[in-house]
Amino acid sequence: MGTEPDPAQTADDEMGPLERWTHGVVNDQEKRNRLYKALFYVAAAFFLVTTLFPFYWLLVLALTPSVRQADWNVSIPLLGEVPFPTPQGFNVHAFVEVFQQVPFHLYVFNSFVLATTTTIIVLLLASLAGYVFGRLEFPGRGLMMLAILAVSYFPPAAFLIPLFDAFLGNAVVVPFLGIELFEPPRLVNTPGSMIMPFSALFLPLSIFILTTFYAQIPDGLEDAARVEGTTRLGALFRVIMPLSAPGVATAAVLTFIAVYNEYFFSSIMALNNQPEQWSPLVGGILSYQTQYTTDFNLMAAASIVGVLPMLIIVVVAQEKIVSGLTEGALKE
């Protein structure tokens, strides 16, 4: 044939099944939509399984009495015996035992207090910093932002030894010169020794989040608030912060979760794994492990109990975030 072959005319039987399918997807809107839908479900299912499976595992572990936890095998046709956790009993008592064996509620309380206090401190300081970086013009702003960014990349472990040294109550000494600067109070085993480093470590992220949000609030609103009778600070807390609710909520949730889960610093600042010494939630979970026994069912139950307050907070905050985003539409 001298003329160009029409692609639609190419006989179907000349193409293989894969070629026919790709051809259909490329040319047919209907087929393409079906493919997108399928891909969406695959991705969503993958995501759900990977996030929810650990919870399933925790639940199964918690409900199965520890004596029966050796037998996880499930027989599947063709594959034979496959190790897969399935409930081997319904021992709800584990959730009670969690509190009987160890004062677990105290550990939860510790983490909760640490996380709340840190979040409040971080939001307060990051709001001030975010206001300055986001809304004021001054020489050296970029440089200072860069410095904060750089500090936020320091490994937390690098701060650990000097901080531990100082929090033990040893005098802070200038290196090499031996000049004693001051003698800090002994802070180990108190919330101060944990809240201070947490606040410092999680501050940069919140500063970045709030800087971008505060920078978007129109100048006119702040001017209006100031003329109406607030100071700059008043305008920040009465107008700019409420209008940046989604950003504030994001910063708060991220900080809260990070501190609530924290173990590295607090396990060292609390000299013993005792709730009286402000050992955190993870410390509590680990205390079901003794020298000779490990109560996996109790650890799992404790984990679930520990997750619950977090779950409630995230659900509540998420509602705030969503409402903030939809109402948002910042019109001056």
Binding site: L221, R226, V227, E228, L243, K331
Partner: protein, 400 residues
């Protein structure tokens, strides 16, 4: 209620001077418009009065208090912003009562005042709405209510109507005038729209490049502009300017001469710019109405712009049909004149016409400095001393 006094206020940013040695005296209860082109420093002037910007030099006095170092909240001013700036997270009631709540007024007093303010701006029944549920005009009313509810000494408005559509703008203009009568408060109003300035204000302060050009009642600014900038800025379409030389017996330009007794002028400059408004140019055969028609000027019509109530005619003085220009450019070019004629005038594009200028409405400016020398040359030619010769206005200074 209070007078506002700016004394040598200068605002300098790193590389530019936004406001340069501004002296402004605004009387108690006066409605003053600050007008000028974009970026002329009028908003910065307003911000220094509000306290949102601190002047680099000079002092701001409101009433008898030097407020230069006071924060905005302690100045007794309230402000309406160009972008309205209602707090989106509060309903109308909370927006209006924001300032009162901050000042810890008691609940009943707040209720009473909000009710009163919302009556003034006709916002009945909208107090529990959210700002984003309101139309532009309603939002602007809420902003005005928020400003008047505190009963401020001085009421600042920064282009409050700029974001409204044309019809609403005219409507709000009359409402603002009514409001001013009702409140009897000092109002300072920033606008770049000279129509707003002309219609609403007791006095207009024309600002250009950070300097006060003239502050006078609207018609004085119109009829006796202090300098060429004011002459060109006030009035639409703007005044025609033709550059020329002063001779012993009048003014000579490239295209026509005007005869008058130039010795009566208090000027030493030879380069003079003549200015005449489009409505003061007449076709020769229709010029009966003018008492003091000037020498006939031959011109060729170029483009006609029928506006309905009048026709704008672009006249080319050198006969050549020049490239199209906007009305502002045309009036600034020396070989073009813009004339307005009655809508029923029989006139066509590209025909030769003879025109006359109204001698009593011709303005003379020094070309170099732009300062006005005389307003109206009719009296000059008669040798009478009653010519309204402009007083020697020192540049940028106050002129009353």
């Amino acid at each position: 209620m209070a007078r506002v006094h700016l004394d040598d206020v200068t605002k300098r940013y790193e590389d530019i001077i936004a406001v340069n040695e501004m002296n402004l005296e605004i009387r108690d209860g006066e409605f003053v418009c600050l007008v000028g082109p974009s970026g002329c420093g009028k908003s910065t002037t307003m911000e220094t009065i509000a306290g949102l910007t601190k002047p680099t030099e000079g002092t701001v006095t409101i009433g008898e208090t030097d407020v230069t170092d006071l924060p905005p909240k302690d100045r007794g001013v309230s402000m309406v912003f160009q972008n309205i700036a209602l707090f989106p997270h509060m309903d109308v009631y909370d927006n209006i009562s924001f300032g009162l709540r901050l000042r810890k007024f008691d609940k009943d007093e707040i209720d009473r005042r909000v009710q009163e303010a919302s009556d003034v701006v006709q916002l009945e029944g909208m107090l529990d709405r959210e700002p984003n549920e309101l139309s532009g005009g309603q939002q602007q009313r809420v902003a005005i209510a928020r400003a008047i509810v505190r009963k401020p000494d001085v009421f600042l408005m920064d282009e409050p109507l700029a974001n409204l559509d044309a019809k609403l703008r005219v409507h709000m203009r009359t409402e603002l005038q009514r409001l001013h009568k009702q409140l009897d408060t000092t109002i300072i109003y920033v606008t770049h729209d000279q129509a707003e300035a002309m219609t609403m204000s007791d006095r207009i302060a024309v600002i250009n490049a950070g300097e006060l050009q003239q502050i006078d009642p609207p018609l004085v600014c119109y009829n006796e502009p202090a300098n060429r900038f004011v002459a060109g800025f006030i009035g639409s379409p703007s005044m025609n300017f033709v550059e020329g030389d002063l001779t012993g017996d009048g003014l000579t330009t490239d295209h026509f001469d005007l005869e008058f007794d130039s010795d009566a002028l208090e000027t030493v400059a030879d380069d003079i710019t003549m200015g005449v408004r489009p409505e003061d140019i007449y076709l020769e055969h229709e010029a009966d109405s003018t008492t003091s028609a000037s020498e006939t000027v031959e011109a060729r019509t170029d483009v006609l712009e029928p506006m309905g109530d009048e026709i704008f005619v672009y006249l080319s003085l050198d006969g050549a049909s020049s490239e199209l220009m906007t009305s502002d450019e045309a009036s600034a070019a020396s070989n073009q004149l813009l004339m307005s004629v009655d809508p029923d005038t029989e006139i066509d594009a590209n025909e030769s016409v003879s025109i006359v200028l109204d001698r009593s409405k011709i303005h003379l400016f020094e070309t170099a400095s732009g300062e006005a020398i005389a307003h109206g040359i009719a009296a000059l030619s008669d040798g009478m001393s009653t010519a309204s010769v402009a007083p020697e206005a020192d540049s940028g200074g106050q002129h009353e």
